[in-house]
């Protein structure tokens, strides 16, 4: 299964991997296979959830804080989480 949001990507929605360290966002949509979606949603990445990127050096995996937990994500995984950037 592969899913992408029907809404365009020009409404302030970006992938989680493009948030810099310290930036916040709200999860809008997730893409990926069923197994991956199931793991991501169980860990708290559901539409509406607040996410803060704790560490993102621009390459390699990054750390995000969601629902009080710190989750390390590979860049490929973070690319498939779409968020709306929120002011700090």
């Amino acid at each position: 299964m592969s899913r992408t949001s029907s809404s365009g990507r020009n409404d302030g929605v970006v992938s989680l991997s493009s948030l810099r360290s310290g930036e916040h966002g709200e999860v809008v949509d997730l893409a990926g296979g069923r197994c991956m979606l199931s793991r991501m949603t169980a860990l708290g990445f559901t539409p509406g959830a607040d996410v803060t990127v704790v560490q993102n050096y621009g390459r390699g995996p990054l750390i995000a804080r969601v629902r009080d937990a710190r989750i390390a994500l590979g860049r490929g995984e973070a690319d498939r989480v779409y968020v709306r950037r929120k002011p700090a």
Binding site: L43, G48, I63
Partner: protein
């Protein structure tokens, strides 16, 4: 505390404690890192049985204890984030609860990460066993500025909520009292259950009406409907076998149309959690950066993280050599040596054949196993501490970018790296990897890490052949082994696993002080299980190889092993070996360092100074280099094979690995031999 540990067998224990009712079966469920092992060990002490779930490679822990005159049988379910069919752990947990119906499920949640850890509770509530929520790590939550009112949460959930801090033994008796109260029917149990997100409520009803009356016992129908919408493969397969054909088609059509329902189901659970905790939870308003945040700036930094890890690994190596190696020698000289002498004295009158069998074959085999113990204990302790304080996840995080190129996981790095000490703990250490595929690959590749025993052989032979270039050759051999490891990783990943990349999604737990009791128990259990499971195989193979190298005449030159070596001589010729090198290689199956001792016997020099010179005079540089290459990459020692078998739970994978290593080592050896011959003329 008034908890008494009963005897391991529950029925007898109940009688001994004077309890007339049957033992209460309590299942312990929770997400990873919520302190399940700490609570389990606290309650059951040494009265626990560790095994595997039937037909699985997942550890099953069970124990008994007596509280308030009642016997409790506690089953530790695997740590899981949810109850989908994505992993063995998740399947085990839900099948156990549905099929075995424990009297109570204690759902352990992390108070500091309340919202996320209640997700599993949201999945447990619809299952047919009563749930008690144990709010663990209340101390950590306080530290992080999180305030929770357990009574308010209890009122919302409609199930008992018990605040506790298992590491300080706080709230444990209250938890057991709550279990008693719930099972005796004194508690107004009225669980709130999550609902699917509003926009999917109609679809759920539609699915329920399709499967109506066809759900096999003991599965609850509404649960099956929800799992179908989540796209749960296990449940869909089961229902496809139970439903009449036309209903299967209707079901598939509905599910296809709503393949986004998974997110709606998960969102529904988080909405429910939000309602449950709204009044009970107060988060810190302005977050001063927590200790975990501060530590991670260093430990998870792309550069400093690597530096810190290198420091920690250096320390571990120092510990292994400074403490482990002398202990190994002591065990070998005093325990194994004395045992062998004792056996010879006692059996003095019996035939020499029996004496040799006991002293060399059996005691030698036991020794081979025992001498692994110091290194294993150090390794288990170090891995246990690093895992318990939360550092292991950080090491995996900084290493992931390098490891995932080989289809491995960041968590594969530490076990593999520590394989330089010994391959046995490297294989056993792969357990920390959750992804089954990455775990298997780590186990299969571990024998390619050059262990100290192989390095001993290289260190002995390289100077004899290459003089001042020995250091260069030794480093070249290590580099070769690691290159082969990386290439094998890429190859196996591309072919056998068809290039599926291990997704890197991993929680970084909050750092906390190590719990020595939990770590101690883990070291004890793992060591015991090594002796019990791997021990038999190591002992058996040791005796067989000993017999082959002694029979029929009592010396290796004319033994069956030597005859096998002569039969295999044509293969050896490809690398310039004569039968003696082949036999040395075969003998190293018991322990890698055996190849030197065997060569010593075959050349009639012992292992003293003469051997190296004689070898150098007998063989060309090409043969020598080929021998070192094969020695480096060859089938691992029997102890490693035993644990590969144990951890993969499959002879097929074990034999695949052995065959793979055999082919790779012989190919590399042949290649090296001919290249060196061409270059040197």
């Amino acid at each position: 505390m008034t908890i008494q540990r009963s005897e391991p067998r529950p029925r007898e224990a109940a009688v001994a404690a004077g309890a007339e009712e049957k033992a209460l079966q309590v299942a312990l469920a929770g997400q990873p890192n919520v302190g399940k092992s700490t609570l389990f060990n606290l309650l059951t002490g040494l009265n626990q049985h560790v095994g595997n779930w039937p037909g699985k490679t997942v550890e099953r822990k069970e124990g008994t204890f007596v509280f308030g005159g009642r016997t409790f049988r506690l089953v530790d379910l695997p740590g899981t984030y949810s109850l989908t069919a994505n992993s063995e752990e998740e399947l085990i947990t839900r099948e156990f609860i549905i099929r075995e119906r424990p009297d109570v499920v204690v759902a352990l949640v992390d108070a500091a990460i309340l919202e996320r850890s209640l997700y599993l509770v949201a999945e447990l509530m619809p299952l047919p066993a009563p749930v008690i929520v144990a709010l663990n790590m209340m101390d950590v939550a306080e530290q992080e500025g999180v305030h929770i009112e357990p009574q308010v949460l209890e009122a919302a959930l409609g199930v008992p909520v018990v605040p506790m801090t298992a590491t300080r033994n706080e709230g444990v008796e209250e938890l057991l009292a709550a279990v008693e109260q719930l099972t005796s029917g004194q508690y107004p149990y009225d669980p709130s259950t999550p609902r699917i997100r509003d926009d999917h409520r109609d679809v759920l009803e539609e699915v329920e009406s399709i499967i109506e009356g066809c759900v096999p016992a003991p599965y609850p129908q509404d649960w099956i409907a929800l799992k179908l919408l989540e796209g749960d493969q296990r449940v869909s397969d089961m229902m496809a076998g139970c439903l009449p054909a036309e209903r299967v088609d209707a079901l598939n059509a509905t599910l296809r149309e709503h393949d986004d329902a998974l997110v709606a189901v998960a969102s529904g659970r988080y909405d429910w959690i939000g309602r449950m905790i709204r009044a009970a939870l107060t988060r810190p308003t302005t977050g001063p950066i927590s200790l975990t945040g501060k530590l991670d700036r260093w430990a998870a930094h792309p550069f400093w993280g690597l530096a810190i890890m290198a420091g920690i690994l250096g320390l571990v190596f120092w510990l292994t050599y400074a403490v482990g190696a002398p202990l190994q020698d002591l065990l070998d000289t005093y325990v194994v040596g004395s045992l062998a002498r004792l056996a010879r004295t006692v059996l003095a009158g019996v035939s020499p054949w029996v004496t040799d069998l006991v002293a060399d074959g059996i005691i030698g085999g036991v020794g081979a196993m025992l001498t692994f113990l110091p290194i294993l204990v150090i390794f288990f302790a170090v891995m246990g501490i690093l895992e318990d304080v939360g550092y292991l996840a950080r090491a995996a995080y900084v290493m992931d970018r390098f490891m995932h190129m080989m289809g491995l996981h960041g968590k594969s790095f530490l076990p593999l790296f520590l394989g330089f000490g010994c391959n046995v703990p490297a294989v056993l250490g792969a357990r920390v990897i959750e992804s089954k595929r990455a775990r298997l690959l780590t186990v299969l590749l571990a024998p390619l890490v050059p262990c100290t025993a192989r390095m001993t052989v290289i260190a002995f032979l390289a100077p004899a052949f290459f003089g001042s270039a020995a250091t260069l050759v030794s480093w070249g051999m290590i580099l070769l082994a690691l290159t082969v490891l990386a290439l094998s990783g890429v190859l196996i990943n591309r072919t056998v696993f068809r290039g599926e990349r291990a997704a890197f999604i991993m929680e970084l737990p909050i750092y906390h002080l190590p719990n020595w009791r939990t770590i101690g128990m883990r070291v004890w259990q793992r060591s015991l299980s090594f002796i019990r499971k791997a021990g038999t195989l190591i002992l058996g193979v040791s005796v067989v190889v000993w017999a082959l190298s002694t029979l029929p005449a009592g010396e290796i030159q004319t033994s069956y092993l030597a005859r096998i070596g002569r039969v295999l001589e044509p293969v050896g010729r490809l690398m310039g070996f004569d039968w003696r090198l082949t036999v040395a290689l075969l003998a190293s199956f018991i322990a890698k360092e055996n190849s030197i001792a065997t060569l010593g016997v075959l050349f009639g020099t012992g292992t003293g100074g003469g051997l190296a010179e004689q070898l150098a005079a007998t063989f060309s540089a090409a043969t020598a280099l080929a021998f070192l290459t094969v020695q480096m990459l060859f089938v691992p020692c029997v102890a490693t094979v035993a644990v590969i078998r144990q951890e993969t739970d499959s002879w097929a994978w074990t034999l695949f690995d052995l065959l793979f290593l055999l082919v790779v080592s012989l190919a590399a050896g042949t290649g090296v031999y001919w290249v060196v011959r061409l270059v040197t003329g």
